[in-house]
Protein backbone atom coordinates (compact mmCIF):
# COMPACT_ATOMS: atom_id res chain seq x y z
CA UNK A 1 0.00 0.00 0.00
CA UNK A 2 1.07 3.53 -0.58
CA UNK A 3 2.45 5.33 2.42
CA UNK A 4 0.09 8.06 3.51
CA UNK A 5 1.11 11.54 4.46
CA UNK A 6 -0.40 13.29 7.46
CA UNK A 7 -3.24 14.65 5.38
CA UNK A 8 -4.33 11.18 4.43
CA UNK A 9 -3.14 11.54 0.84
CA UNK A 10 -0.52 9.27 -0.67
CA UNK A 11 2.93 10.62 0.08
CA UNK A 12 4.50 12.36 -2.89
CA UNK A 13 7.90 11.29 -4.05
CA UNK A 14 10.20 14.28 -3.99
CA UNK A 15 12.72 13.83 -6.76
CA UNK A 16 16.39 14.23 -6.11
CA UNK A 17 18.32 16.25 -8.69
CA UNK A 18 20.90 14.04 -10.30
CA UNK A 19 21.54 12.15 -13.50
CA UNK A 20 19.44 9.30 -12.12
CA UNK A 21 15.80 8.58 -12.72
CA UNK A 22 13.31 6.22 -11.21
CA UNK A 23 10.11 4.72 -12.55
CA UNK A 24 7.56 5.70 -9.96
CA UNK A 25 4.41 4.60 -11.75
CA UNK A 26 3.70 2.21 -14.55
CA UNK A 27 0.76 0.79 -16.48
CA UNK A 28 0.00 -0.71 -19.85
CA UNK A 29 -3.04 -1.68 -21.83
CA UNK A 30 -3.82 -3.28 -25.14
CA UNK A 31 -5.36 -2.18 -28.38
CA UNK A 32 -5.52 -5.28 -30.53
CA UNK A 33 -1.90 -6.32 -30.94
CA UNK A 34 -0.53 -2.97 -29.81
CA UNK A 35 0.52 -2.42 -26.23
CA UNK A 36 0.34 1.10 -24.91
CA UNK A 37 2.90 1.54 -22.16
CA UNK A 38 2.76 4.56 -19.88
CA UNK A 39 5.00 5.37 -17.00
CA UNK A 40 5.96 8.22 -14.75
CA UNK A 41 9.47 9.05 -13.62
CA UNK A 42 10.56 11.10 -10.66
CA UNK A 43 12.57 13.52 -12.81
CA UNK A 44 12.20 14.64 -16.44
CA UNK A 45 14.06 12.32 -18.74
CA UNK A 46 13.80 10.79 -22.20
CA UNK A 47 13.25 7.06 -22.25
CA UNK A 48 13.64 4.20 -24.66
CA UNK A 49 11.81 0.94 -24.25
CA UNK A 50 14.20 -1.89 -25.04
CA UNK A 51 12.44 -5.17 -25.66
CA UNK A 52 13.07 -8.73 -26.70
CA UNK A 53 11.02 -11.83 -27.24
CA UNK A 54 13.83 -14.02 -25.89
CA UNK A 55 13.22 -15.20 -22.38
CA UNK A 56 15.51 -13.63 -19.82
CA UNK A 57 18.11 -15.79 -18.12
CA UNK A 58 19.98 -14.97 -14.95
CA UNK A 59 23.74 -15.39 -14.92
CA UNK A 60 25.21 -15.32 -11.40
CA UNK A 61 28.41 -13.31 -11.07
CA UNK A 62 31.21 -13.31 -8.51
CA UNK A 63 33.63 -10.60 -7.51
CA UNK A 64 37.11 -11.26 -6.16
CA UNK A 65 37.87 -9.06 -3.18
CA UNK A 66 41.27 -9.67 -1.63
CA UNK A 67 41.15 -13.27 -2.74
CA UNK A 68 37.67 -13.93 -1.46
CA UNK A 69 34.85 -14.49 -3.94
CA UNK A 70 31.62 -12.68 -3.26
CA UNK A 71 28.37 -13.01 -5.13
CA UNK A 72 27.57 -9.92 -7.15
CA UNK A 73 24.33 -8.73 -8.67
CA UNK A 74 23.73 -11.12 -11.54
CA UNK A 75 23.56 -10.42 -15.25
CA UNK A 76 20.14 -10.61 -16.79
CA UNK A 77 20.49 -11.99 -20.26
CA UNK A 78 18.69 -9.61 -22.63
CA UNK A 79 19.47 -10.45 -26.21
CA UNK A 80 18.24 -9.67 -29.71
CA UNK A 81 16.59 -6.54 -28.42
CA UNK A 82 14.95 -3.70 -30.24
CA UNK A 83 14.12 -0.24 -29.01
CA UNK A 84 11.02 1.94 -29.04
CA UNK A 85 11.48 5.61 -28.27
CA UNK A 86 8.92 7.40 -26.14
CA UNK A 87 6.22 9.30 -27.96
CA UNK A 88 6.92 12.57 -26.18
CA UNK A 89 9.66 14.90 -27.33
CA UNK A 90 12.41 15.97 -24.99
CA UNK A 91 12.72 15.19 -21.30
CA UNK A 92 9.38 14.50 -19.70
CA UNK A 93 7.87 13.17 -16.51
CA UNK A 94 5.16 11.19 -18.30
CA UNK A 95 6.25 8.73 -20.93
CA UNK A 96 4.21 6.69 -23.37
CA UNK A 97 5.22 4.06 -25.87
CA UNK A 98 3.41 2.37 -28.72
CA UNK A 99 4.63 -1.15 -28.57
CA UNK A 100 3.13 -2.98 -31.51
CA UNK A 101 3.17 -6.05 -33.76
CA UNK A 102 2.65 -8.55 -30.99
CA UNK A 103 2.05 -12.05 -32.18
CA UNK A 104 -0.70 -14.21 -30.83
CA UNK A 105 0.24 -15.64 -27.46
CA UNK A 106 3.61 -13.95 -27.70
CA UNK A 107 5.46 -13.01 -24.52
CA UNK A 108 7.92 -10.16 -24.48
CA UNK A 109 10.26 -8.70 -21.92
CA UNK A 110 11.28 -5.08 -21.78
CA UNK A 111 12.95 -2.49 -19.64
CA UNK A 112 13.53 1.24 -19.87
CA UNK A 113 16.72 3.17 -20.39
CA UNK A 114 17.03 6.89 -20.54
CA UNK A 115 18.86 10.11 -21.00
CA UNK A 116 18.68 13.26 -18.93
CA UNK A 117 19.49 16.43 -20.75
CA UNK A 118 20.82 14.40 -23.65
CA UNK A 119 23.33 12.54 -21.51
CA UNK A 120 23.03 8.83 -20.85
CA UNK A 121 21.81 7.96 -17.39
CA UNK A 122 22.98 4.76 -15.73
CA UNK A 123 19.54 4.09 -14.26
CA UNK A 124 17.40 1.31 -15.62
CA UNK A 125 13.94 0.08 -14.86
CA UNK A 126 13.14 -3.46 -13.84
CA UNK A 127 12.34 -5.93 -16.57
CA UNK A 128 8.64 -5.99 -17.34
CA UNK A 129 6.95 -8.78 -19.14
CA UNK A 130 3.55 -9.35 -20.65
CA UNK A 131 1.69 -11.91 -22.63
CA UNK A 132 -0.58 -10.92 -25.46
CA UNK A 133 -3.36 -12.91 -23.88
CA UNK A 134 -3.49 -10.42 -21.03
CA UNK A 135 -5.66 -8.16 -23.11
CA UNK A 136 -8.76 -10.20 -22.43
CA UNK A 137 -8.13 -10.09 -18.71
CA UNK A 138 -7.64 -6.35 -18.77
CA UNK A 139 -10.80 -5.86 -20.76
CA UNK A 140 -12.71 -8.04 -18.32
CA UNK A 141 -12.14 -5.38 -15.67
CA UNK A 142 -14.59 -3.18 -17.54
CA UNK A 143 -12.72 -0.16 -16.33
CA UNK A 144 -13.29 2.88 -18.49
CA UNK A 145 -9.64 3.65 -18.94
CA UNK A 146 -8.84 0.10 -19.83
CA UNK A 147 -11.63 -0.01 -22.36
CA UNK A 148 -10.44 3.30 -23.77
CA UNK A 149 -6.92 1.91 -23.99
CA UNK A 150 -5.66 4.65 -21.74
CA UNK A 151 -2.86 3.27 -19.63
CA UNK A 152 -2.21 6.69 -18.17
CA UNK A 153 -5.69 6.63 -16.75
CA UNK A 154 -5.17 3.52 -14.72
CA UNK A 155 -2.10 4.84 -12.97
CA UNK A 156 -2.45 6.10 -9.43
CA UNK A 157 -5.30 4.00 -8.27
CA UNK A 158 -5.81 3.79 -4.58
CA UNK A 159 -4.19 0.42 -4.59
CA UNK A 160 -1.41 1.86 -6.68
CA UNK A 161 -1.27 -0.27 -9.75
CA UNK A 162 -2.61 -2.93 -11.98
CA UNK A 163 -0.72 -6.04 -11.14
CA UNK A 164 -0.69 -9.38 -12.82
CA UNK A 165 -2.00 -10.92 -9.63
CA UNK A 166 -4.93 -8.56 -9.58
CA UNK A 167 -5.74 -9.34 -13.14
CA UNK A 168 -6.01 -13.01 -12.37
CA UNK A 169 -9.63 -14.07 -12.21
CA UNK A 170 -11.03 -15.46 -9.01
CA UNK A 171 -13.20 -18.52 -8.74
CA UNK A 172 -16.11 -16.63 -10.25
CA UNK A 173 -14.03 -15.71 -13.25
CA UNK A 174 -13.91 -12.06 -12.24
CA UNK A 175 -10.66 -10.17 -11.77
CA UNK A 176 -9.77 -9.89 -8.17
CA UNK A 177 -8.07 -7.25 -6.15
CA UNK A 178 -8.10 -4.26 -8.49
CA UNK A 179 -10.03 -1.47 -6.91
CA UNK A 180 -10.27 0.31 -10.18
CA UNK A 181 -13.01 2.72 -9.24
CA UNK A 182 -10.77 4.73 -6.96
CA UNK A 183 -8.09 7.29 -7.63
CA UNK A 184 -5.77 8.37 -4.88
CA UNK A 185 -7.99 6.71 -2.36
CA UNK A 186 -11.10 8.54 -3.48
CA UNK A 187 -14.00 7.19 -5.41
CA UNK A 188 -14.12 8.67 -8.87
CA UNK A 189 -17.37 10.38 -8.00
CA UNK A 190 -15.55 12.28 -5.27
CA UNK A 191 -12.81 13.68 -7.46
CA UNK A 192 -13.19 17.38 -8.08
CA UNK A 193 -11.88 19.11 -11.15
CA UNK A 194 -9.59 21.18 -8.98
CA UNK A 195 -7.90 18.00 -7.83
CA UNK A 196 -6.60 17.30 -11.30
CA UNK A 197 -3.01 18.26 -11.75
CA UNK A 198 -3.29 19.55 -15.30
CA UNK A 199 -6.33 21.76 -14.83
CA UNK A 200 -5.54 25.40 -14.10
CA UNK A 201 -8.89 26.46 -12.67
CA UNK A 202 -12.37 25.07 -12.56
CA UNK A 203 -14.49 26.62 -15.34
CA UNK A 204 -17.26 28.98 -14.45
CA UNK A 205 -20.79 28.78 -15.74
CA UNK A 206 -20.92 28.24 -19.49
CA UNK A 207 -17.21 27.82 -19.98
CA UNK A 208 -15.41 24.83 -21.42
CA UNK A 209 -11.92 23.51 -20.88
CA UNK A 210 -9.41 24.02 -23.66
CA UNK A 211 -5.92 22.58 -23.86
CA UNK A 212 -3.09 25.10 -23.59
CA UNK A 213 -0.02 23.45 -25.07
CA UNK A 214 2.27 26.22 -23.85
CA UNK A 215 1.55 25.51 -20.19
CA UNK A 216 0.34 21.92 -20.60
CA UNK A 217 -2.82 22.80 -18.74
CA UNK A 218 -6.55 22.62 -19.35
CA UNK A 219 -7.84 26.15 -19.04
CA UNK A 220 -11.39 27.52 -18.92
CA UNK A 221 -12.53 29.38 -21.99
CA UNK A 222 -15.70 30.47 -23.65
CA UNK A 223 -17.05 27.79 -25.97
CA UNK A 224 -16.70 28.22 -29.69
CA UNK A 225 -19.91 29.22 -31.37
CA UNK A 226 -21.35 28.44 -34.73
CA UNK A 227 -19.86 26.49 -37.55
CA UNK A 228 -17.18 27.77 -39.83
CA UNK A 229 -18.09 27.32 -43.41
CA UNK A 230 -15.78 26.75 -46.22
CA UNK A 231 -15.39 30.19 -47.68
CA UNK A 232 -13.60 29.08 -50.87
CA UNK A 233 -16.82 27.52 -51.96
CA UNK A 234 -18.49 30.88 -51.85
CA UNK A 235 -16.13 32.02 -54.57
CA UNK A 236 -18.06 29.98 -57.04
CA UNK A 237 -21.66 30.99 -56.77
CA UNK A 238 -23.80 29.46 -59.40
CA UNK A 239 -26.66 31.83 -59.32
CA UNK A 240 -26.41 32.28 -63.07
CA UNK A 241 -26.22 28.66 -63.91
CA UNK A 242 -28.40 28.97 -66.96
CA UNK A 243 -31.52 29.73 -65.11
CA UNK A 244 -30.74 27.58 -62.11
CA UNK A 245 -30.70 29.53 -58.95
CA UNK A 246 -27.88 28.27 -56.83
CA UNK A 247 -26.42 29.68 -53.73
CA UNK A 248 -24.26 28.81 -50.83
CA UNK A 249 -26.40 28.45 -47.83
CA UNK A 250 -24.11 30.06 -45.34
CA UNK A 251 -26.54 30.15 -42.49
CA UNK A 252 -28.58 27.00 -42.56
CA UNK A 253 -31.39 26.90 -40.13
CA UNK A 254 -31.60 23.21 -39.64
CA UNK A 255 -28.16 22.29 -38.42
CA UNK A 256 -28.20 19.50 -35.95
CA UNK A 257 -25.53 17.47 -34.35
CA UNK A 258 -26.11 14.90 -37.04
CA UNK A 259 -25.04 17.09 -39.90
CA UNK A 260 -22.13 19.36 -40.16
CA UNK A 261 -23.95 21.83 -42.32
CA UNK A 262 -25.46 22.60 -45.62
CA UNK A 263 -23.15 22.92 -48.48
CA UNK A 264 -25.02 24.00 -51.49
CA UNK A 265 -28.52 24.79 -52.45
CA UNK A 266 -29.54 24.46 -56.04
CA UNK A 267 -32.89 25.79 -56.97
CA UNK A 268 -34.58 26.37 -60.26
CA UNK A 269 -37.99 27.34 -59.06
CA UNK A 270 -40.00 27.41 -55.94
CA UNK A 271 -40.78 23.73 -55.91
CA UNK A 272 -37.71 21.97 -57.21
CA UNK A 273 -34.50 22.28 -55.31
CA UNK A 274 -31.99 20.17 -53.64
CA UNK A 275 -29.43 20.56 -50.97
CA UNK A 276 -26.13 18.90 -50.48
CA UNK A 277 -24.96 17.97 -47.05
CA UNK A 278 -21.78 16.66 -45.72
CA UNK A 279 -22.34 14.21 -42.94
CA UNK A 280 -21.27 15.43 -39.57
CA UNK A 281 -17.78 14.19 -38.96
CA UNK A 282 -17.99 11.98 -41.99
CA UNK A 283 -16.88 12.01 -45.54
CA UNK A 284 -20.06 11.01 -47.30
CA UNK A 285 -22.63 13.09 -49.07
CA UNK A 286 -26.21 13.69 -48.27
CA UNK A 287 -28.44 14.68 -51.11
CA UNK A 288 -31.94 15.73 -50.45
CA UNK A 289 -34.45 16.23 -53.14
CA UNK A 290 -37.30 18.23 -51.83
CA UNK A 291 -39.68 17.41 -54.63
CA UNK A 292 -39.68 13.72 -53.96
CA UNK A 293 -38.71 14.13 -50.33
CA UNK A 294 -35.94 11.62 -50.45
CA UNK A 295 -32.62 11.68 -48.73
CA UNK A 296 -29.78 9.98 -50.49
CA UNK A 297 -26.47 9.09 -48.97
CA UNK A 298 -23.40 8.72 -51.11
CA UNK A 299 -20.60 6.99 -49.33
CA UNK A 300 -17.13 7.20 -50.79
CA UNK A 301 -16.01 3.84 -51.97
CA UNK A 302 -12.52 2.78 -51.07
CA UNK A 303 -11.30 6.29 -50.76
CA UNK A 304 -10.43 8.82 -48.14
CA UNK A 305 -11.48 12.35 -47.54
CA UNK A 306 -8.40 13.61 -49.29
CA UNK A 307 -9.21 12.00 -52.59
CA UNK A 308 -12.97 12.16 -52.75
CA UNK A 309 -14.38 14.00 -55.68
CA UNK A 310 -17.95 14.70 -56.40
CA UNK A 311 -19.54 15.88 -59.57
CA UNK A 312 -22.99 17.22 -59.97
CA UNK A 313 -24.66 17.19 -63.33
CA UNK A 314 -27.76 19.18 -63.67
CA UNK A 315 -30.05 18.98 -66.64
CA UNK A 316 -32.78 21.31 -67.61
CA UNK A 317 -34.73 20.50 -70.68
CA UNK A 318 -32.46 19.48 -73.50
CA UNK A 319 -29.45 21.24 -72.03
CA UNK A 320 -27.21 19.59 -69.51
CA UNK A 321 -24.99 21.57 -67.22
CA UNK A 322 -22.07 20.60 -65.14
CA UNK A 323 -21.20 21.81 -61.77
CA UNK A 324 -18.26 20.20 -60.11
CA UNK A 325 -16.84 20.44 -56.69
CA UNK A 326 -14.59 18.35 -54.61
CA UNK A 327 -14.18 17.29 -51.08
CA UNK A 328 -10.56 17.63 -50.18
CA UNK A 329 -9.32 17.04 -46.73
CA UNK A 330 -12.65 17.89 -45.28
CA UNK A 331 -13.05 21.15 -47.17
CA UNK A 332 -15.20 21.77 -50.15
CA UNK A 333 -14.09 23.65 -53.21
CA UNK A 334 -16.10 24.50 -56.23
CA UNK A 335 -13.88 24.05 -59.23
CA UNK A 336 -15.92 24.59 -62.28
CA UNK A 337 -19.37 25.29 -63.43
CA UNK A 338 -20.40 24.36 -66.83
CA UNK A 339 -21.71 26.83 -69.30
CA UNK A 340 -24.91 26.47 -71.11
CA UNK A 341 -24.57 24.96 -74.49
CA UNK A 342 -24.09 21.80 -76.30
CA UNK A 343 -20.72 20.70 -75.10
CA UNK A 344 -17.70 21.94 -73.38
CA UNK A 345 -14.21 21.09 -72.46
CA UNK A 346 -13.21 22.88 -69.37
CA UNK A 347 -9.98 23.15 -67.48
CA UNK A 348 -10.68 23.09 -63.84
CA UNK A 349 -8.95 25.00 -61.19
CA UNK A 350 -5.84 23.57 -59.66
CA UNK A 351 -6.87 21.32 -56.85
CA UNK A 352 -3.52 21.15 -55.20
CA UNK A 353 -0.20 22.59 -56.05
CA UNK A 354 1.04 21.04 -59.22
CA UNK A 355 -2.16 19.14 -59.91
CA UNK A 356 -4.58 20.18 -62.59
CA UNK A 357 -7.80 18.35 -63.05
CA UNK A 358 -9.69 18.42 -66.29
CA UNK A 359 -13.29 17.68 -66.90
CA UNK A 360 -14.91 17.27 -70.24
CA UNK A 361 -18.44 16.57 -71.14
CA UNK A 362 -20.24 16.04 -74.38
CA UNK A 363 -23.95 16.64 -74.39
CA UNK A 364 -25.10 17.25 -77.89
CA UNK A 365 -26.07 14.63 -78.26
CA UNK A 366 -25.54 13.53 -74.67
CA UNK A 367 -22.85 10.92 -74.91
CA UNK A 368 -20.31 10.94 -72.17
CA UNK A 369 -18.63 12.66 -69.31
CA UNK A 370 -15.00 12.11 -68.58
CA UNK A 371 -12.14 13.40 -66.51
CA UNK A 372 -8.41 13.12 -66.26
CA UNK A 373 -5.66 14.10 -63.90
CA UNK A 374 -2.51 15.94 -64.74
CA UNK A 375 -2.81 15.24 -68.43
CA UNK A 376 -3.24 11.54 -67.84
CA UNK A 377 -5.54 9.21 -69.64
CA UNK A 378 -9.18 10.15 -69.80
CA UNK A 379 -11.62 8.19 -67.75
CA UNK A 380 -14.88 8.12 -69.58
CA UNK A 381 -18.35 7.24 -68.49
CA UNK A 382 -20.88 6.78 -71.20
CA UNK A 383 -24.09 8.67 -70.81
CA UNK A 384 -26.70 6.25 -71.87
CA UNK A 385 -29.70 7.17 -69.87
CA UNK A 386 -32.45 9.10 -71.52
CA UNK A 387 -31.34 12.17 -69.72
CA UNK A 388 -27.73 11.69 -70.58
CA UNK A 389 -26.54 10.21 -67.35
CA UNK A 390 -24.38 7.15 -67.00
CA UNK A 391 -26.46 4.10 -66.29
CA UNK A 392 -23.88 2.50 -64.10
CA UNK A 393 -21.50 3.79 -61.56
CA UNK A 394 -22.59 7.18 -60.34
CA UNK A 395 -26.24 7.28 -59.86
CA UNK A 396 -27.14 9.15 -56.77
CA UNK A 397 -29.59 11.54 -58.17
CA UNK A 398 -32.69 13.40 -57.39
CA UNK A 399 -35.56 13.96 -59.68
CA UNK A 400 -37.90 16.79 -59.11
CA UNK A 401 -40.67 14.77 -60.64
CA UNK A 402 -41.09 16.77 -63.78
CA UNK A 403 -39.96 14.16 -66.25
CA UNK A 404 -36.96 15.18 -68.28
CA UNK A 405 -37.17 18.84 -67.68
CA UNK A 406 -35.22 19.14 -64.46
CA UNK A 407 -32.84 16.63 -63.06
CA UNK A 408 -29.87 16.70 -60.82
CA UNK A 409 -27.33 13.97 -60.67
CA UNK A 410 -24.49 13.50 -58.31
CA UNK A 411 -21.43 11.66 -59.41
CA UNK A 412 -18.93 10.50 -56.97
CA UNK A 413 -15.48 9.85 -58.33
CA UNK A 414 -12.75 8.39 -56.25
CA UNK A 415 -9.84 9.68 -58.21
CA UNK A 416 -7.11 7.82 -56.48
CA UNK A 417 -8.67 4.47 -57.09
CA UNK A 418 -9.96 5.55 -60.49
CA UNK A 419 -13.19 3.81 -59.73
CA UNK A 420 -16.70 5.05 -59.73
CA UNK A 421 -18.77 4.91 -56.68
CA UNK A 422 -21.54 2.40 -56.81
CA UNK A 423 -24.30 1.88 -54.38
Amino acid sequence: MTALANDGQPARITPMPSNLWLTTEYAHSWLENLLYVACVTDVPCHLWLRWTDKEEHIHPRQKDRRGVLFLSVPDYCFVEWQEVEQNEAGDTIHHTFNFDTWGTCQRRWWHLRGQIGGADSPSTSPIFTAHYEEQEKAMSLKHTDLIDKNPGGIIDHADDSVTAAKLEPDLDGQPKGLNADKVDGKHLTQILLADLQDVSDAPSDGQVLTWDAATSLWKPAAPATGITYDTPFAKYPCDTLDGWACSVDAAPSAITTSYEGFLLTLRNDATAWARMYRRYGGIGLMFFDRAIKQLWLARPYGSTASVDWYLIIGQQGATTHLFGFRLYNGNWFGFWRGPAGTHTTAALMAATAGSVYLLEAEFSPATYVRFRINGGAWTTETLDLPNGVAAHGPHIYGDNGSAVTKHMYIFHIAIEQATWWTS
Binding site: T24, D75, P126, T163
Partner: protein
Amino acid sequence: MPQQHIIDGFKGVVDFYEYKGIPCARKWPVWHPRQPSDTERAAQEAFAYINRIASQLPEYIKDQYHRMAVGTPWTWKDLLVKAYIHGLDY
Protein backbone atom coordinates in the same frame (compact mmCIF):
# COMPACT_ATOMS: atom_id res chain seq x y z
CA MET B 1 51.11 -8.84 30.91
CA PRO B 2 53.44 -5.90 30.31
CA GLN B 3 54.31 -3.70 33.19
CA GLN B 4 52.16 -0.71 33.91
CA HIS B 5 54.75 1.86 32.86
CA ILE B 6 55.03 0.19 29.52
CA ILE B 7 51.32 0.31 29.13
CA ASP B 8 51.26 3.94 30.14
CA GLY B 9 53.83 4.63 27.44
CA PHE B 10 51.40 3.89 24.67
CA LYS B 11 49.58 6.77 23.07
CA GLY B 12 45.88 6.92 23.73
CA VAL B 13 43.83 4.43 25.64
CA VAL B 14 44.88 0.82 25.26
CA ASP B 15 43.14 -2.05 26.95
CA PHE B 16 45.22 -5.02 27.89
CA TYR B 17 43.53 -8.22 28.85
CA GLU B 18 43.86 -11.94 28.57
CA TYR B 19 41.63 -14.02 26.42
CA LYS B 20 41.88 -17.76 26.96
CA GLY B 21 45.37 -17.25 28.36
CA ILE B 22 46.52 -15.10 25.47
CA PRO B 23 47.57 -11.52 26.31
CA CYS B 24 45.66 -9.08 24.15
CA ALA B 25 45.86 -5.34 23.61
CA ARG B 26 43.03 -3.33 22.13
CA LYS B 27 43.27 0.27 21.17
CA TRP B 28 40.08 2.19 21.43
CA PRO B 29 38.99 3.38 18.03
CA VAL B 30 39.13 7.08 17.35
CA TRP B 31 36.64 8.56 14.95
CA HIS B 32 37.98 11.37 12.83
CA PRO B 33 34.91 12.98 11.27
CA ARG B 34 35.32 14.60 7.91
CA GLN B 35 33.08 16.10 5.25
CA PRO B 36 32.37 13.68 2.42
CA SER B 37 33.46 14.64 -1.06
CA ASP B 38 30.89 15.79 -3.60
CA THR B 39 30.73 12.41 -5.26
CA GLU B 40 30.52 10.65 -1.91
CA ARG B 41 27.71 12.92 -0.83
CA ALA B 42 25.86 12.41 -4.10
CA ALA B 43 26.17 8.66 -3.73
CA GLN B 44 25.01 8.84 -0.12
CA GLU B 45 22.03 10.97 -1.03
CA ALA B 46 21.08 8.73 -3.92
CA PHE B 47 21.31 5.70 -1.67
CA ALA B 48 19.24 7.39 1.03
CA TYR B 49 16.71 8.59 -1.52
CA ILE B 50 16.09 5.23 -3.14
CA ASN B 51 15.81 3.49 0.20
CA ARG B 52 13.45 6.14 1.50
CA ILE B 53 10.99 5.89 -1.36
CA ALA B 54 11.30 2.18 -2.07
CA SER B 55 8.28 1.37 0.05
CA GLN B 56 6.21 3.98 -1.77
CA LEU B 57 6.65 2.42 -5.18
CA PRO B 58 3.62 0.75 -6.75
CA GLU B 59 3.25 -2.92 -6.09
CA TYR B 60 3.46 -3.69 -9.77
CA ILE B 61 6.94 -2.22 -10.00
CA LYS B 62 8.03 -3.98 -6.82
CA ASP B 63 6.64 -7.21 -8.24
CA GLN B 64 9.03 -6.99 -11.15
CA TYR B 65 12.01 -6.73 -8.81
CA HIS B 66 10.62 -9.57 -6.70
CA ARG B 67 10.39 -11.70 -9.82
CA MET B 68 13.93 -10.79 -10.86
CA ALA B 69 15.27 -11.61 -7.41
CA VAL B 70 13.95 -15.18 -7.45
CA GLY B 71 16.84 -17.64 -7.52
CA THR B 72 19.42 -15.08 -6.47
CA PRO B 73 20.78 -14.21 -3.01
CA TRP B 74 19.59 -10.64 -3.50
CA THR B 75 16.43 -8.98 -2.32
CA TRP B 76 14.15 -6.95 -4.51
CA LYS B 77 15.41 -3.80 -2.84
CA ASP B 78 19.03 -4.71 -3.62
CA LEU B 79 18.07 -4.86 -7.27
CA LEU B 80 16.09 -1.64 -7.03
CA VAL B 81 19.03 0.22 -5.53
CA LYS B 82 21.40 -1.19 -8.12
CA ALA B 83 19.01 -0.37 -10.97
CA TYR B 84 18.64 3.20 -9.77
CA ILE B 85 22.22 4.06 -8.97
CA HIS B 86 24.24 1.99 -11.42
CA GLY B 87 21.69 0.28 -13.61
CA LEU B 88 21.25 -3.44 -13.83
CA ASP B 89 23.33 -5.43 -16.27
CA TYR B 90 20.95 -6.37 -19.04
